[in-house]
């Protein structure tokens, strides 16, 4: 048992030196480095399952307590050809752990000749994040994948949560998105309907939440792999909606006049 454990640990080479409290760590580095500024986690990401696979969407605003650090960030990161992850929390932490997960999944694929399932990937990520529980690490990701078992969606958080489900929304704008998704999501949606629903949900969240905004990224994952739509500016959506409302009002006025 001991031999197997040691072999396993040495396979994940970079990982051991990062773990806090291990005998090889030179300083208790996670405990002693102070945070440069208070971290705040502002975003809106969502993902849901339907007959066409899994749809993942996110806004593109990267905020840094009140400053919009980047209006064109990428919060939906592809991990491999059939797995996509949405990220929420600290951008640096999310980017790093996604790359570590991508590396581990590729190594698994090379060693075992097949891809790890989405639930397996989620479990791996959750166990990798476990040593950092209680520190300021903040990663809240939803892994959206389509494997030989079908599409699946798992939510993984650095506080240890790992939930399998059909609809998730993460971030400060998530309550606004949840109510829109609850109204419209069902299994029989077409791809176009699902895309416009996801866009509407992110738009409503960016409308009310100060820490979400700018553009929306939409990815669809199915058995053939992931596809990405061109990034859409939500400002256009705002003007389109105004036009639509004005048009509806004109139509109604015409209807009442003709009656």
């Amino acid at each position: 048992m001991k031999l197997k454990e040691e072999k396993h640990k040495s396979n994940i080479t970079g990982f051991r030196s990062l773990a806090p409290g291990s005998s090889t760590s030179q300083t208790g580095f996670l405990g002693s480095v102070p945070l440069p500024f208070p971290m705040s986690h502002g975003t809106t990401t969502l993902a849901f399952m339907f007959q066409g696979g899994v749809l993942a969407a996110a806004d593109t605003r990267s905020s840094c307590s009140g400053l919009v650090a980047c209006p064109a960030a990428r919060k939906v990161l592809p991990i491999h050809s059939h797995l996509v992850g949405t990220t929420s929390g600290t951008s640096a932490d999310c980017a790093l752990w996604k790359r570590i997960l991508a590396r581990e999944l590729r190594l698994y694929q090379l060693r075992h000749g097949r891809r790890l399932s989405t639930s397996g990937a989620a479990k791996l990520l959750s166990h990798m994040l476990h040593p950092f529980k209680g520190t300021e690490l903040c990663v809240a990701a939803t892994l959206c994948g389509a494997s030989f078992t079908g599409p699946s969606l798992v939510y993984v958080c650095s506080d240890g949560t790992r939930l399998k489900g059909t609809l998730f929304s993460v971030g400060s704008g998530s309550p606004y998105a949840y109510s829109i998704l609850d109204q419209g999501v069902h299994w029989g949606l077409s791809v176009d309907q699902a895309t416009s629903l996801a866009r509407e949900a992110v738009y409503r969240a960016t409308h009310r939440d100060a820490y979400s905004g700018n553009c929306v990224d939409i990815y669809q994952v199915n058995s053939k792999g992931w596809t990405r739509r061109t990034r859409e500016d939500l400002k256009e959506e705002y003007y389109r909606e105004k036009e639509r409302r004005a048009h509806e009002r004109r139509e109604r006025q015409d209807m009442t006049l003709s009656e």
Binding site: S179, Q183, G184
Partner: protein, 275 residues
């Protein structure tokens, strides 16, 4: 009182003769109305009591904690045919559900409604006091109080106790000479007029739904449906909201109570799949 002397506050009665001409005392300067029955303008809290300090001691992590969260969802929006007010009916005390059919709308008069979110005791007390003041206004001035004035009265009451730990988020809705009126009043004294508000910890869920379905020229039935949906989706996702949807419609000739429907039945109507 020692504090009154130290702060240099003099009895109003002494100063009044110097400031105002002699004659019958106008309404404003009599004891009672604006000084809550005291001859001297006093501090609102008895000596030796420190409400804000007491409340800070009650929010210690790990120890006894009184969480003044606004555990509810209420929403109200103005449209062409009046104001729709919809509230849930769950009253929670921490994790315990004290009531599943609490009444969170106070009917001030046939033309004014107030919603309650936050501490139930604070809301009920201050809104009943507001109802009293509105009635007195009507008796003294022989006309109904406007929505702006009623919300201003409530806001000033809140400002008098600012920082002392009150918790109240309320919307004052009515129809007066200016048309339909909707004001949001907070325990900090915030007073905002607007087209649509939602308060309570479930407010973000309600905002998503109402923002996407709101049109200024909705029909009355569409507006009822939107109010019901907003509360239903919020109660579905928020743990501190639930019970029934109580909905009122404020019209030109007064308010009517539209419905009282259980959210667990409504959610099955509105949520399509994945159940």
């Amino acid at each position: 009182m020692a504090l009154v002397e130290v702060s240099g506050l003099r009895r109003f009665v002494e100063l009044r003769d110097q400031i105002l001409p002699a004659g019958p005392t106008p309404l404003l300067h009599r004891t009672g109305h604006y000084t809550f029955g005291a001859e001297t303008p006093e501090f609102a809290v008895p000596l030796g009591v420190d409400p804000s300090g007491f409340l800070k001691s009650c929010s210690r992590d790990g120890g006894v904690s009184i969480d003044m969260n606004h555990g509810t969802t209420t929403l109200a929006f103005k449209f062409r045919h009046g104001v729709i007010v919809a509230v849930d009916s769950r009253a929670s005390a921490g994790n315990y559900l004290a009531s599943t059919n609490a009444n969170k709308v106070i009917e001030i008069n046939p033309y004014l409604l107030g919603t309650m979110s936050g501490s139930a005791a604070d809301c009920q007390h201050w809104e009943r006091l507001l109802a009293k003041e509105c009635r007195l206004f009507k008796l003294r001035n022989n006309q109904r109080i406007s929505v702006a004035a009623a919300s201003k009265l409530l806001s000033n009451m809140m400002l008098g106790y600012r920082g002392m730990g009150l918790s109240m988020g309320s919307m004052i809705c009515g129809w007066d000479k200016e048309g339909p009126g909707l004001y949001y009043v907070d325990e900090n004294g915030t007073r905002l007029s607007g087209q649509m508000f939602s308060t309570g910890c479930g407010n973000s869920y309600a905002y998503g739904v109402v923002d996407s379905g709101y049109r200024e020229d909705m029909t009355v039935e569409e507006a009822y449906e939107l109010g019901r949906r907003g509360i239903t989706h919020a109660t579905h996702r928020d743990a501190y909201s639930g019970g029934v949807v109580n909905m009122y419609h404020m019209r030109e000739d007064g308010w009517i109570k539209v419905c009282q429907e259980d959210v667990s039945e409504l959610i099955h109507r509105y949520k399509k799949g994945l159940f």
